[in-house]
Amino acid sequence: MHLIFFKVAAIFYLISSVIYVTFLLRSKGTRCLSGFWFVIGGFLAHTISIVHLFIAQGFLPMATAFDALSLFAWLVVAIFTVLQFRDPNPVLGAMAAPIAAVLMLTASTFSYQITQPIVPVLRSWWLPIHVSFALAGNAVFTIMAMAGAMYIFQERLIKRKKIGRFHRILPSLETLDTLNRRALPIGFFFLTLGIISGALWASSAWGSYWNWDPKETWSLITWFAYAAMVHQRLALGWRGKKAAMLALVGFVLVMFTFVGVSLLFSGHHSFVGGSMRTPLI
């Protein structure tokens, strides 16, 4: 049942991606309402699918790679939707919708079912807390990176005096920089809580806070990168293009920690033989 809604959501995200991208390439308007409605439709179906899985399983669906990717997509779309209501913009849609669609399609390659008995470590209240914080941080940093990409593009157009259609539909530099400034501490806050909750969970599960498994190490590297960014912004007053570049660099780190580490290394976060077939968290 929840899988039907999941598929509907994935298809809706895909359709809206196509609509948004064709809109950018062909239309002359400034708003792409049809694309947005498909995102909203997908978001509702997505929400139903997650809630349904929660009720069916009796615990928050966060144990598998499927769950992680699906929840990640859901958070990205949620933040995007809030931003759209404040300032509708087709360019952000043309980035958020495809990202959500790709995440959903990747998720669908994993099984949502927990075939083997779940490892005791995962039967803990720390699981939803840790995963929610980590993914919320990721989602915020994703949107921040999109704003960063838009900033760099818009800045280039203005500097080079190339005033075309894109220039007109992109938000102002100030808007994008404000988004960066506001998102940075929020994302950093979530990331920090994600790491702390992970450490507390590790302590209750294995008796030690920190075990230097690859996921932990790379999370720490990511954390330092964003801590440096917060410092540059607040203390040194970095803004604009530099801040936008950093948002992109940070995003690469986030993505590597999220996906790359799981594929390349093994550690506490890959519960081989446990419930996670290809764990991402």
Partner: protein, 447 residues
Amino acid sequence: MIPIVHDFLVLGINHNTAPVLIREKVTFPGNQDGAVTRLVAQAEDILECIIVSTCNRAEIIVVTNDPDLSAENLIELVSKIHELDVESIRPYFYIKKGKEAVRHVFRVTSSLDSMVLGEPQIVGQVKEAFKRDAAANATGPLLNRLMHRAFFTAKRVRTETGVALAAVSIAYVAVELAKKILGELEQRQALLIGAGEMAELTARHLASNVKRPIKIINRTLENACVLAAEFDGSAESMEQLYDALADADVVISSTGSCDPIIRFREMKTVMHRRRHKPIFMIDIAIPRDIEPEVNDLDGVYLYNIDDLRAVVEENIGERRAEAEKADKIVDQEVGKFINWTKSLEWAPTIVALKERFEEIRANEISKMNGKFGSLDETEREAIDILTKAIINKIAHGPISFMKQSIKTTRRDQHVDFVQRVFGLDTFVSETESEEVKTSDYETDYRN
């Protein structure tokens, strides 16, 4: 059947057909309350009238029984109103009839006939004229419908094409760019260096968007003070230039200096002082006031007059391409409207009315069929005859009402009325909803 007696007619002058000298004479003085329109509407053969008068055009839009005769009468009337010689103004007027008149009204309202293609004020002006003349009882069902369709068309053109999107004056482009860089301008600091017509125009346009008083710097403090008084700003001396730059968000520079007054090296220090907070600099002076290399600094966006002009040119070109798309929309809407006027005949309306009643009757009978199970054939027949008699009696009233109207000149009004009362007009619902929505036209346009 009597042939169609009403037709649309537009008589007008605009920036293409008449020089300013003529245009400024034909302005319909004293029409603030629609008195002149009413006078025209009372002329022989004329049923409805609207007069639109702006600085670039004057249009008399009428519904008439005899377009040719009315055109002649109207020109004479215009010359009488403005105390001009008929022959001296005749060559400047264009006359459009029927479908062409409809298309012309749609194009004018959609700003496709404007001097600056796509400029947004015209919809508001036409709407004002329509409101005024409707309040003066000079309009009727045909013009009311025509104008609502015109506003609907204008809205389609605005939302579906990019005709109204691009800014086409240098001052406007400068402000748009400032908004793209700095977001909302309200709390921004503007700085004007030097003076000059272009600079002052741009500064004025900017001042209407900025709440903080503009700073003005001039080589002679007195001149700066004079300008400052005019702008409600504050004057500063040339020595304070770099302090002012560190504080400003938008700079317009236009001095008569032979050498650049803002150099790369100094600007770099300024940017450091302002922690690379973005600054938009407009260099209107020739020779340049600001070294072009300044644009390479992080956070500095430097545009000179040629850059701005290039943006304007590009925007104008873009608008032209979009106008073709807009004309297609106008064609569609003209076609729809002409179809509607054709439906305003009593014979097809009677057929439609009878069909509607029969449809209702048949529907109700079929709904009751289950309960008729116990009835025999003759009883069913009796019910059929009874219900048919009822709808025929009901239809009699509106049909004779329309037939009587043949004798009057306003039979379209009667037919229109019947169509609306019995919901025969599929066009109505769309138009009615538009009627409510037209009120957001003024607010929608930013200019």
